[in-house]
Symmetry: C3
Subunit: 136 residues, 3 copies
């Protein structure tokens, strides 16, 4: 069994931003040399999230709008007394910070409409992404 | 280490539908011959989701009602200019497209109230489910 | 390859409660003797959830408030005709019952602001947590 870790950094430029990281995740998976196993994509952050869905400009805006609608900034949160990003933490809690994909025949077996995105909820920042491939 | 993939198809009959796939997932896990490891259940779709919870008729209706309340169809989404299913994509983003279960002594170590459901958010369709068992 | 299971119990004391289980998860991961692999944290319950975020008292209250805002108890749910905890099931569906972490150099490679919490949504109860470490 092999376990291969790859890390890369995403520099965001906006307060809230979806960044397509599909190509970088797939390159890491293919470079791992693992044929069949699992691919964990992970962000070690509490104000970011990882999602996978269709890469369509209108939908990307819909997702950002929905996140802002559900988790409005500055809505009287207690955490805002020590920082100003409670809404970003809350969105991260509900969306999650990792995704697991099947790795099959040296490829991530994702659907054609499942592009992988880092969602920065409290940018602009430098965000780290860990891709762990485990298998044989 | 073994990695065993099983795929099956679920044909839904309604616009939004929860389909209990517990038995099929468990059959795949038990047929894998893996004793201890992980079981990834994955749908390669962006308008479907995978959840696990109690199989009770009232609760199933409550879940469908909650999804519709949170992600109302046709609420002015930009993606609806190119398709009519933005609400289904948004629900999939928040609910997720995979679940990971422990596999222990050749069984999925789920709780007694954790039945596994495919949630089709944009049916009726034919949906694919991948069950990947990894372990020894 | 090794697969090591550790189980522990969390006794909650309130109706809705976030319990920091980071230390217990990390002790289980380190005691496993696995150097590199994956760590699955899993609760076999349908009215509890597992999250990871910053351990700050104000934020913990914000999370509980948000959960109650999204999933208000007794809001006319059908499942409440057979039990009184539909809101707890619904919150569990949206938040999820497991998390997967990278295990690297015998440590869970989590971010410094990613403490791991069990969220009991229908306490007080005794809740079981499974930590499964898989790797080499």
């Amino acid at each position: 069994m092999k376990t291969v870790f790859t890390e890369f950094t995403v520099s965001t430029t906006k307060k809230v931003e979806l960044v397509n990281i599909t190509r970088r995740v797939e390159e890491a998976a293919e470079a791992s040399g693992v044929r069949n196993g699992l691919c964990l994509v992970y962000v070690p952050h509490s104000t970011a999230a990882l999602i996978a869905n269709e890469n369509e400009a209108g939908l990307i805006q819909d997702i950002l709008n929905k996140v802002e609608g559900f988790f409005s900034p500055g809505a009287g949160y207690r955490h805002d007394l020590v920082d100003d990003n409670a809404h970003a933490h809350l969105a991260s809690v509900f969306l999650g910070f990792s995704q697991v994909f099947p790795l099959r025949n040296s490829k991530i077996a994702r659907g054609v409409w499942q592009s992988i995105f880092l969602l920065d909820l409290d940018g602009p920042r430098s965000r780290r992404v860990t891709v762990e491939v485990l298998g044989e």
